[in-house]
C-alpha cells in the first residue's frame, strides 16, 4: 500500500502539487468550520448556568413570634429559583437567631472551609462542621479548624410579622 501511495504521488506534477495543497487546506478549514458551528452553541449552553444570574429574593421563614430571643434555630426553605423537578435538592436552610425584638441574625449552613453543613450545638454555643472539624463561635467567628473566615450570613428583615431571608448563592470561599 505504501508503494502505491508513492507511485501515485510520483505521477503528479508541479500543478497537481499546488492544487492539492490548496484543496487540503480547504478540507481542513471545512472541518474546523463544522467543529465551530456544532460546538459553539453546545458550549454556550453548557456554560450558561455558571454565569451569575440568580436573583436575590426575600423568602419568608416563619412568624416572628415563633422565634425566642436568644435561641438559635434551624429554618429550611425552598430556593425560589428551584424547578419542580429539583425535588428536595432545591431546599436549603439557615441558622436563625433572634437577638432582640426585631433584630435577627441568619447564618448560612455552609462551612466557610469547603461548604459542608454546620450544626449548632446549643450547650456549647458553637457551630460545628462535620467534615474537617471547623468550629465557630456564636457570632460565626472561627474558633478552631481549617475554616478561613467567619460563617457567612443572610440578610434578614421582618415584614408584616414574617421573618424573611434574602437568598444567596452557596458561598464559595
Amino acid at each position: 500500500m505504501k508503494n502505491d501511495n508513492e507511485n501515485m504521488l510520483h505521477r503528479s506534477g508541479e500543478a497537481d502539487f499546488g492544487r492539492r495543497r490548496f484543496l487540503s487546506r480547504v478540507g481542513m478549514a471545512a472541518g474546523a468550520l463544522i467543529a465551530v458551528a456544532m460546538g459553539l452553541p453546545v458550549i454556550g449552553y453548557i456554560l450558561k448556568p455558571s454565569l451569575p444570574k440568580m436573583r436575590r429574593q426575600w423568602v419568608p421563614v416563619g412568624q416572628i413570634n415563633q422565634f425566642n430571643i436568644g435561641d438559635t434555630v434551624f429554618v429550611s426553605f425552598t430556593n425560589p429559583s428551584a424547578t419542580a423537578w429539583a425535588g428536595v435538592t432545591g431546599k436549603t436552610g439557615a441558622w436563625v437567631r433572634r437577638v432582640a425584638d426585631s433584630d435577627f441574625i441568619a447564618f448560612v449552613i455552609n462551612c466557610s472551609h469547603e461548604g459542608c453543613p454546620v450544626r449548632w450545638e446549643a450547650s456549647t454555643k458553637m457551630f460545628f462542621c462535620p467534615c474537617h472539624g471547623s468550629v465557630y463561635y456564636e457570632d460565626g467567628v472561627v474558633a478552631a479548624g481549617p475554616a478561613p473566615i467567619a460563617l457567612q450570613r443572610f440578610k434578614v428583615r421582618v415584614r408584616g410579622g414574617q421573618v424573611e431571608l434574602q437568598t444567596r448563592p452557596i458561598p464559595i470561599t
Binding site: P49, A86, P117
Partner: protein, 581 residues
C-alpha cells in the same frame, strides 16, 4: 468445508478483519512475562464490566435531581438490582485498584522508557479519567453524601485563582443546588467520560501493539533509544512467543479472578449504602468521599490550614506534571534494583496515600457528637464538684473532642491522665484562651463551670504516678482561695502592685483600659490575630491579670507586665474592680 469455516472465509474476503485480528492476537511478545503483566488487561475487564452493569442500571436510574434518589431506592428494592449496583460499585473499586497496581508495575519495571512514552501518557490520561468517573459515580449515588461531596468539590474548584467562582458554579450547574446539578454530572458520567475512556483505551492498546510489550527488565541492561528497537526486534525474532495464547492465558485467568471477586463482593458485601435523601436542608450530615478520595479529604483536615489554598490548587497540578514528566527520563536502567531512588519515591508516595486514607477512615478530627457521656464509674463520684465538673465536660462539648478512659472524640488530647501533665492554672489557661484547634471557652463556661471542671480534671491522674517536683510545687499552690475577698483589700493590692499606674479608676484612658465600668462591659480582644468580642466577667479578668500577654485588648499595646499575685490577691482585685460601676 465446515459452515463456520465458510463464514470466516466470507468475512475475510469482505472485511479483511479475520487476518488482521488473528495476526494481532498472535503477535510475538517477549517470553517470561509471568503474572506481573496481567493488571492492564484486568483494568480493561473492569471497565467493560462497568459499561455492562452501567447499561443495566440505566434502565431504572432517573437522571433528575428530584427523582434519582427514588429510582435508586427502586433499584435497591429488588435483589438483582442491589446485586447489579453492588457489581458496579465493586467494579469501580476494582478498576481503580487495578489501574494503580498497573501504574506501579509499569513504573517499577521502567516500561515507560523509550519507545513507550506515549503508552505511559495515555495511561496517565486514563487514570485521570477513571478518577473523574469515580468521583462523578459517587455523585450519581444521589444521596446526602453525594450533594455535600459535590459542594465540597465545587468549593475546592473555587480556590482556583481568577476563574474559581465560575468553575464552582459550573460544577453544580448554577449558584445553588437544583435540577441542573445532577443532569450535568450524569452527562459526564454516562456519556462524555466513558466515550473518552473507550477511545483512549483504543489508543493505548494500539500503542501496546505498535511499540510491543516491554520485555521483563534485566539489571545492567540499559535502554538506548538509538539501538533499542532493533535489539527488541532481534530478541522477538529469536525468542518471541505468540501473545495468544502464551501470554494471554494468564490475562484471561486473572480477569476471571477479578470478575469472580467483584461478583462475590457484590453478593456478600453489596453496594455502597444509599444514604439519606439529597436534601440540603438536612444539616445533620456526615459527608465523606468514597474511599478513592479519602486521602485528599484527610489531607485537608490534617495539613497546616495556611497551606491549604496551595495544596488544593497546586497539588493536583503537581501530580499531573510529575506523572507527565516521568518519561522524560526515557533511557538507562529499567530494573528496579538499579533504580533505588525511583523505588523509594514510589514507596513514599504509596505509604503517604495509605496513611492519609487510614486517617480519613478514622477521622480523628471529627467531633464525636454522639459520644457516650461519662458515667459515675469513670468519674469516680456521683455527686459533688467532681461529678458536676464531669457533667460540664459532657454537656459543654468537651467530650466531642477529648477522650477520657475511652469515652469521647479524638480531635484533642486524651485527658484520661491530664492532671499528671497540667496544673490548674495551665488548665484554666486552656479553657480561657483555647489553643491550636481548640475554641476559647471563656464565654461558654460560667465561673462555677470552670471551678467544677477543674475539680474534675484534677482527679484525672495515673494511679501511683509521681509527677516532677516542679509540677507538684506549682500544684500545691492549690485552688484559688475561697476566702471572702473584700474590695478594699483589692484596692490596697492594686495600689501596692502598681496596677493603678496604668489603669485609671475614673474612666480616663491611660496606658491600659480604665477599670471604671469595665466589669460586665463588652471588649474586643485580639486572639491569635483574630478579633473576638468578650464580656468582662470574673473569668475574663482572672485570665487577663494572670496572662497579660495572651489576649490583647483592641487599641492597646501588648505591654502589660506579668505581676506576681497569689490567686487570693487576684480575686480581691477583681472584687474591687466589680465595685467600680
Amino acid at each position: 468445508m465446515k459452515l463456520s469455516e465458510k463464514f470466516l472465509q466470507w468475512l475475510e474476503s469482505r472485511t479483511g478483519l479475520v487476518k488482521l485480528i488473528v495476526s494481532q492476537a498472535v503477535h510475538p511478545v517477549p517470553p517470561g512475562a509471568r503474572w506481573k503483566y496481567v493488571f492492564g488487561s484486568a483494568v480493561l475487564t473492569a471497565f467493560i464490566l462497568q459499561v455492562v452493569t452501567g447499561v443495566g442500571l440505566l434502565t431504572t436510574y432517573v437522571s433528575s435531581s428530584g427523582g434519582a434518589y427514588q429510582s435508586l431506592k427502586q433499584i435497591d428494592s429488588s435483589q438483582l438490582g442491589t446485586f447489579l449496583r453492588g457489581m458496579h460499585w465493586w467494579g469501580a473499586s476494582a478498576m481503580v485498584v487495578m489501574i494503580i497496581i498497573h501504574l506501579c508495575r509499569v513504573f517499577l519495571t521502567g516500561s515507560y522508557k523509550f519507545p513507550r512514552e506515549a503508552n505511559w501518557l495515555t495511561g496517565v490520561l486514563l487514570l485521570g479519567l477513571t478518577i473523574v468517573m469515580a468521583f462523578s459515580g459517587q455523585i450519581m449515588r444521589w444521596d446526602q453524601d453525594a450533594i455535600w461531596s459535590l459542594v465540597v468539590g465545587a468549593d475546592m474548584a473555587g480556590r482556583v485563582p481568577l476563574i474559581g467562582n465560575w468553575l464552582a458554579h459550573f460544577m453544580i450547574g448554577g449558584e445553588v443546588l437544583g435540577s441542573d446539578t445532577l443532569s450535568r454530572i450524569f452527562d459526564v458520567h454516562v456519556f462524555v467520560v466513558p466515550l473518552l475512556i473507550a477511545s483512549v483505551v483504543g489508543l493505548h492498546l494500539y500503542l501496546v501493539l505498535y511499540n510491543g510489550v516491554s520485555e521483563p527488565p534485566v539489571p545492567g541492561q540499559t535502554v538506548n533509544p538509538a539501538t533499542y528497537r532493533s535489539e527488541y526486534e532481534d530478541m522477538l525474532r529469536k525468542k518471541g512467543v505468540p501473545f495468544w495464547p502464551e501470554a494471554a492465558w494468564r490475562d484471561m485467568i486473572f480477569s476471571v479472578a477479578v470478575v469472580a471477586g467483584i461478583l462475590l463482593l457484590a453478593w456478600i458485601a453489596g453496594p455502597h449504602k444509599l444514604g439519606k435523601p439529597p436534601d440540603a436542608s438536612q444539616v445533620i450530615a456526615h459527608p465523606m468521599p468514597d474511599w478513592y478520595l479519602l486521602w485528599f479529604y484527610a489531607m485537608l483536615a490534617l495539613l497546616p490550614h495556611s497551606l491549604e489554598n496551595y495544596i488544593i490548587v497546586a497539588a493536583p497540578i503537581l501530580i499531573v506534571l510529575v506523572l507527565v514528566f516521568i518519561p522524560l527520563n526515557n533511557r538507562g536502567e529499567r530494573h528496579p534494583v538499579k533504580r533505588p531512588l525511583e523505588v523509594t519515591a514510589l514507596i513514599f508516595v504509596i505509604s503517604a496515600l495509605g496513611a492519609f486514607t487510614m486517617a480519613g477512615k478514622q477521622e480523628p478530627w471529627y467531633p464525636h457528637f454522639n459520644a457516650a457521656p461519662l458515667t459515675a464509674d469513670i468519674i469516680g463520684a456521683s455527686s459533688g464538684p467532681v461529678y458536676d465538673g464531669a457533667m460540664v465536660f459532657n454537656e459543654k462539648g468537651c467530650i466531642y473532642c477529648h477522650t477520657i478512659e475511652g469515652h469521647g472524640g479524638k480531635r484533642g488530647p486524651d485527658l484520661t491522665y491530664i492532671a499528671d501533665r497540667l496544673t490548674r492554672n495551665q488548665l484554666t489557661l486552656r479553657f480561657m484562651n483555647g489553643a491550636y484547634n481548640m475554641p476559647v471557652f471563656a464565654h461558654t463556661l460560667t465561673t462555677t463551670d470552670t471551678e467544677d471542671l477543674l475539680e474534675f480534671l484534677s482527679t484525672r491522674k495515673r494511679p501511683g504516678y509521681t509527677v516532677g517536683k516542679q509540677l507538684s510545687a506549682v500544684r500545691s499552690a492549690g485552688p484559688p482561695s475561697q476566702a471572702v475577698s473584700t474590695a478594699s483589700e483589692g484596692l490596697a493590692i492594686a495600689k501596692s502592685k502598681g496596677c493603678l499606674g496604668c489603669h485609671s479608676t475614673d474612666g480616663k484612658p491611660m496606658i491600659g483600659p480604665s477599670w471604671k465600668g469595665i466589669y460586665g462591659s463588652k471588649v474586643t480582644v485580639i486572639i491569635n490575630g483574630k478579633r473576638v468580642v468578650k464580656t468582662v466577667d470574673e473569668n475574663y479578668l482572672k485570665f487577663m491579670i494572670t496572662n497579660p500577654d495572651v489576649w490583647i485588648v483592641k487599641g492597646y499595646q501588648p505591654i502589660m507586665p506579668k505581676i506576681s499575685l497569689s490567686p487570693g490577691q487576684v480575686d480581691k482585685i477583681i472584687a474591687y474592680i466589680k465595685t467600680l460601676k
